[in-house]
Amino acid sequence: MKNNLRPFAQLSKLASACAFAGVLAVGAVAPAYAAGAAQAISVKNPWVRWLPGNLPAAGYATLVNGGDKPVDLVDISSADYGSTMLHQSVANGSTQKMVMVDKLTVPAHGEAQIAPGGYHMMLEEAKHKVAPGDTVHLKLHFSDGETIDTAFPVKSPAQAN
């Protein structure tokens, strides 16, 4: 974020000084830059573990927050699946259960792992046949208003990532 700001240092200063109006002005002058700077979150290593038939699949990724404030993953949507939910596998003694999760906080300058045995995006009701080797798209919606459309490679279930 800081790197992006450097070439626009003047504009940035103006923006802070003029607060809201200034930010709008920067947005108007350089929309591409404004969009890049607003996106604190990036998605690393996305993948889907495929299961046969109509069994629910799981999507995994690492969410990286380059910003100064924590950002929550608040919703997942997809044109490829009828149902997409954030779940968490929780161990209780020797047993495992799944619970639905409203949000996942990505700490400032930190990351959140959506990985096997913990958080996962439960993907159900595939709209078309999905097989290992395919790519599906999931839209990740964040509390800062950002939506990241991410391509998830679909892998065979025996593949551990």
Binding site: L51, P52, P56, S94, K97, P116, G117, P157
Partner: protein, 225 residues
């Protein structure tokens, strides 16, 4: 200590200003002492063999032998004795489980990979705790997606599954249905390892690495051959 001392002396004796014959004599002594030390170590190892720790949880004598009557993923009846002669890895799971079950199965695939040719002595039994949804065909597709050669899915009546789970102290519980009628099953994530005679030997959890599981499995497979 002895062999090390003698080795050091041998090394010194090999220095050019010592006679070769002298070095040879030293070497002969070293071989003798080493032989004695090895014999002694062998006796000690033999005595303490049972004490060698396992990476996994040793359940020998604490759980009943592999004994059940269920339905295989080909729809045919299967009993515990079907798997005699193989080291069996038994996992209680269900196919509508997108995270923990496939992750466990994937880890077992890694274990098979590490075993190499020894994997032919191993069978993975995926026993469903959700017989209502897991038909033999669903199970067949499921295990085939991982490994058609070593893995087999097993189902049965509610009562058969309940009895088996009680026998191995596996906890599982159906959770509430969502508006679409879907439900999750809370279940034990351990993998039970039985030797070729069907005796319960080890328990692997999701905290055990594929390396640790493979190392212990090799010991169980070796005893057999």
């Amino acid at each position: 200590m002895f062999p090390v001392t003698f080795f050091t002396r041998l090394w010194r004796s090999c220095a050019p200003h010592f006679a070769v014959r002298h070095a040879l004599r030293r070497f002969a002594i070293l071989v003798g002492v080493l032989g004695l030390a090895c014999a002694l170590a062998g006796v000690l190892a033999g005595c303490s063999h049972k004490e060698e720790p396992w990476h996994l949880t040793d359940v020998s004598g604490h759980l009943p032998d592999l004994d059940f009557t269920l339905t295989g993923d080909d729809g045919k009846p299967v009993t515990g004795s079907t798997f005699k002669g193989h080291t069996s890895l038994v996992y209680f799971g269900y196919t509508h489980c997108p995270d923990v079950c496939p992750e466990t199965m994937a880890r077992l695939m890694q274990v098979l990979g590490k075993l190499g040719p020894d994997a032919q002595h191993v069978r993975i039994l995926f026993i469903t705790v959700d017989p209502a949804r897991d038909t033999p065909q669903t199970l067949r597709e499921y295990v085939d997606a991982f490994d058609a050669q070593h893995a087999q899915g097993l189902t049965g009546t509610n009562r058969q599954i309940e009895e088996l789970a009680r026998r191995y102290r596996v906890a599982y519980q159906m959770e509430q249905r969502d508006p679409k009628g879907n439900y999750e099953v809370t279940h034990s994530s351990a993998v039970y390892i039985f030797d070729a005679q069907g005796h319960a030997r080890l328990l692997a959890t999701d905290r055990d690495t594929p390396d640790a599981i493979a190392a212990d499995l090799r010991r169980i497979i070796e005893v057999r051959s």
